[in-house]
C-alpha cells in the first residue's frame, strides 16, 4: 500500500482516521505483525494464573504454566471456534470449551476430546491445540507479543525506548514494577491514532486541561508551557517521549514528578536511598518517564494506558496505576492520583477523550482534507544520541509516529 497520497512530512490525510479499508490494512501490517504490549507478569504471579488480554480486536489469554513460563493463546476453540475462556482472570491448569467439552492445557495443548472414538487416528491431537501468539518476549515483566512468526526481536523493536523500562524499574525500591490495581476500561468514539498521537502531545494540556489547572495547584500545566525546558523526542521506531527531566532538574523538586514532596512519602524515599545511595537524589528529581511505546503502551509517570483499537472509529483505553514493589506509601498515593486523573470520570482523561471524539466527528468534514502537523519543524534539532528533538509543544512526536506508521504500512 503506498502512502504517498496520504502522509507528507508536515501533514496527514483525514481518511487515515476514517477509512475502514485502511483500518483493515493496519490490523494486518501493524497490530498483527509488530510487537504489541499485552500484559505484565505481576498480573499472573502464581503458577496456572491467567488473565484475558488483547492484541487489537483479538482476544488473548495470557497464562503462566506450572513451570512459570508465560504463554499467549488466542481465545478460540480449535474445534468449532467457541470462546474457551470467558472469565477475566483466575487460576486454572486447563480451559474446557463449554460447547463440546474439548479441554486445553494452559500451554494451549489439546488435552482431551469427549467421546474420542468418534475421531480416527489421522486426526492428531498435537495439531489441534489453541492458536498461540508465535513470539512472546518481555522486559522488566512487560510482556509483548507478535503475531508474526518472524521479524525484528523485541529489543530491536524497542530500540532506544528499552531504557524507559530501566528508568521505571530503578524507581522501585526492590527494582520491580507491579500492576496489581486492576483496570478501568474507557471507551472513546475515535480512531486509535487520535489517542496515540495525543499521549506525547505537549501542545494540548494548556487548553484541554485548563479547567483543572485553574482550580488546583497541580503544576502539571507549567511542565508544558512554552517556556518549559521539557523536550519532545523521537526515540525512533515510532516510540516518542516528552522528556520532563530537564524541567524537573530546573525546578529541583524531589518527588515533583508525583506531585508530592519527600516528607510525604518517607518510607519510599528511605528505601530508595538505601538501594541507590548517592544516585537516589537525581533519581527522585528525574522521576518517571512519559513515553509512548508504539503502538499501544503509554507510560504516563504514575500510570499506564494501553490503547486497544476495536474498529476504525472505536478505541478502548485500559488504565491502571503503576505500583513499585516495596513502596506501600507511594503506591497508595499513585493509586489515588491515577483514579482521580484517568478513566471515564477522570479530571484529566475525560477531557482528552472528549477531544478524541470531537476530532473524529470533525475529520468527517470534506475540507481541508489534511491535518497539519508542522509545529516546530523549523526548529527541530538532534540530541547527543542523534534523536530528533523539539520544544515541549512541538509536533516532533506526531511526525515520528507517522514516519514509522508509513514504513510499516508500505512494507509488503
Amino acid at each position: 500500500m503506498t502512502m504517498d497520497d496520504l502522509i507528507r512530512a508536515d501533514r496527514v490525510h483525514g481518511s487515515l482516521y476514517t477509512d475502514p479499508a485502511i483500518f483493515a490494512v493496519e490490523l494486518e501490517r501493524i497490530w498483527y505483525r509488530t510487537w504489541v504490549y499485552v500484559g505484565h507478569t505481576s498480573e499472573i504471579p502464581e503458577p496456572d494464573d491467567y488473565v484475558l488480554k488483547s492484541i487489537g480486536p483479538q482476544a488473548v489469554i495470557m497464562t503462566r504454566d506450572r513451570q512459570g513460563d508465560i504463554h499467549l493463546l488466542l481465545n478460540r476453540c480449535s474445534h468449532r471456534a467457541n470462546l474457551v475462556c470467558d472469565v477475566e482472570h483466575g487460576n486454572a491448569s486447563a480451559f474446557r470449551c463449554p460447547y463440546h467439552g474439548w479441554t486445553f492445557g494452559n500451554t494451549g495443548r489439546l488435552l482431551g476430546r469427549p467421546f474420542n472414538s468418534g475421531y480416527d487416528r489421522s486426526v492428531a491431537k498435537e495439531n489441534l491445540g489453541l492458536a498461540r501468539v508465535p513470539r512472546v518476549a518481555s522486559i522488566h515483566g512487560f510482556v509483548f507479543g507478535s503475531l508474526a512468526v518472524e521479524g525484528p526481536s523485541l529489543a530491536e523493536h524497542l530500540g532506544a525506548a528499552a531504557e524507559t523500562f530501566d528508568r521505571l524499574a530503578q524507581l522501585s525500591p526492590e527494582g520491580e514494577i507491579e500492576l496489581t490495581t486492576g483496570w478501568v476500561k474507557h471507551k472513546v468514539e475515535a480512531n486509535w491514532k487520535m489517542v496515540l498521537e495525543n499521549e506525547t502531545d505537549g501542545y494540548h494540556p494548556q487548553f484541554v486541561h485548563a479547567s483543572i489547572f485553574s482550580v488546583t495547584d497541580s503544576g502539571i500545566g507549567d511542565l508544558y508551557d512554552e517556556k518549559s525546558a521539557t523536550i519532545a523526542r523521537d526515540l525512533g521506531g515510532g516510540h516518542t517521549e516528552l522528556d520532563l527531566r530537564p524541567e524537573f532538574r530546573r525546578l529541583d523538586r524531589p518527588m515533583g514528578w508525583c506531585g508530592t514532596t519527600e516528607d510525604r512519602v518517607p518510607g519510599y524515599v528511605s528505601h530508595l536511598r538505601a538501594r541507590h545511595g548517592e544516585r537516589a537524589a537525581s533519581i527522585l528529581i528525574d522521576g518517571s518517564p512519559h513515553v509512548m511505546v508504539f503502538p499501544n503502551l503509554f507510560i504516563a509517570e504514575i500510570e499506564l494506558l494501553v490503547i486497544q483499537p476495536v474498529s476504525v472509529n472505536e478505541t478502548v483505553q485500559h488504565v491502571t496505576a503503576l505500583q513499585f514493589k516495596g513502596a506501600p506509601d507511594l503506591n497508595e498515593r499513585m493509586l489515588r492520583q491515577t483514579v482521580g486523573s484517568v478513566g471515564p470520570a477522570g479530571l484529566l482523561l475525560a477531557d482528552d477523550s472528549e477531544m478524541y471524539a470531537r476530532n473524529q466527528r470533525g475529520v468527517q468534514a470534506r475540507a481541508p482534507e489534511w491535518l497539519f502537523l508542522g509545529r516546530g519543524l523549523h526548529r527541530e534539532r538532534r540530541d547527543a544520541d542523534g534523536h530528533t528533538i523539539g520544544d515541549a509543544t512541538d509536533e516532533v512526536p506526531q511526525r515520528a509516529i507517522w514516519r514509522h506508521y508509513r514504513a510499516l504500512m508500505e512494507r509488503s
Binding site: G182, H186, K187, E189, T320, V339, G340, P344, A345, A350
Partner: protein, 154 residues
C-alpha cells in the same frame, strides 16, 4: 426516628440537583468526611482502581472544575434525567442510616444517548436538623466493561 418520607425526599432531591447541574446545592449535601465512590471491577478502593473515589476535598475539586465552564467533557453539560426507585432502608444504627435504591439515568450528548443503570447506596447522617450524605456508592451494572465518558454527577 427518620421517616421513610424524609429519606425519599432526600434521595429524590439529590438526584434532581445532580440532573440539573445545580453544583453548589448538590455539594452542600455532603458531610465533611464524605466519600463519593463509583467502583470499577473491584470492591476494594484502597487497593484497586475505581471510576470515581473522591474524598471531600476531591468532591470540591470536581465541582469547581465543572463550574469553570471549561470542563470539555461537560461543555455543554449533558442533558440528564434519572429515575430512582426501590428505595429501601437497609440499616439504622441511631447515628447513620444506610439506604439502598436502584436507578436508571438517560444521558444525552452530541455523541449520542447513553443509558446508565445501577445501584445507589447512601450512608446518611442528620446534621443541624437536616440529612446529609456521608457516603454515596454507585455500582454500575456495567462497571467492569468499557465505559464512555461519565462526566456528569451520577
Amino acid at each position: 426516628m427518620t421517616s421513610r418520607g424524609e429519606i425519599e425526599q432526600f434521595v429524590y432531591r439529590e438526584a434532581r440537583l445532580a440532573d440539573e447541574h445545580q453544583y453548589d446545592a448538590w455539594e452542600a449535601l455532603w458531610t465533611d468526611d464524605a466519600i463519593y465512590w463509583v467502583p470499577a471491577g473491584s470492591d476494594d478502593p484502597d487497593r484497586h482502581m475505581s471510576i470515581i473515589y473522591d474524598n471531600r476535598s476531591r468532591i470540591a475539586v470536581r465541582v469547581m472544575q465543572l463550574k469553570t465552564g471549561k470542563r470539555h467533557a461537560q461543555r455543554p453539560p449533558s442533558s440528564v434525567r434519572r429515575v430512582v426507585s426501590n428505595v429501601e432502608l437497609l440499616a439504622d444504627d441511631g447515628d447513620d442510616l444506610v439506604v439502598g435504591a436502584n436507578f436508571v439515568a438517560v444521558e444525552s450528548r452530541d455523541r449520542g444517548t447513553v443509558i446508565w443503570a445501577g445501584r445507589y447506596e447512601y450512608r446518611l447522617r442528620r446534621q443541624a436538623g437536616a440529612l446529609r450524605m456521608v457516603r454515596k456508592t454507585v455500582t454500575l451494572v456495567d462497571r467492569d466493561r468499557p465505559l464512555p465518558n461519565l462526566a456528569f454527577l451520577i
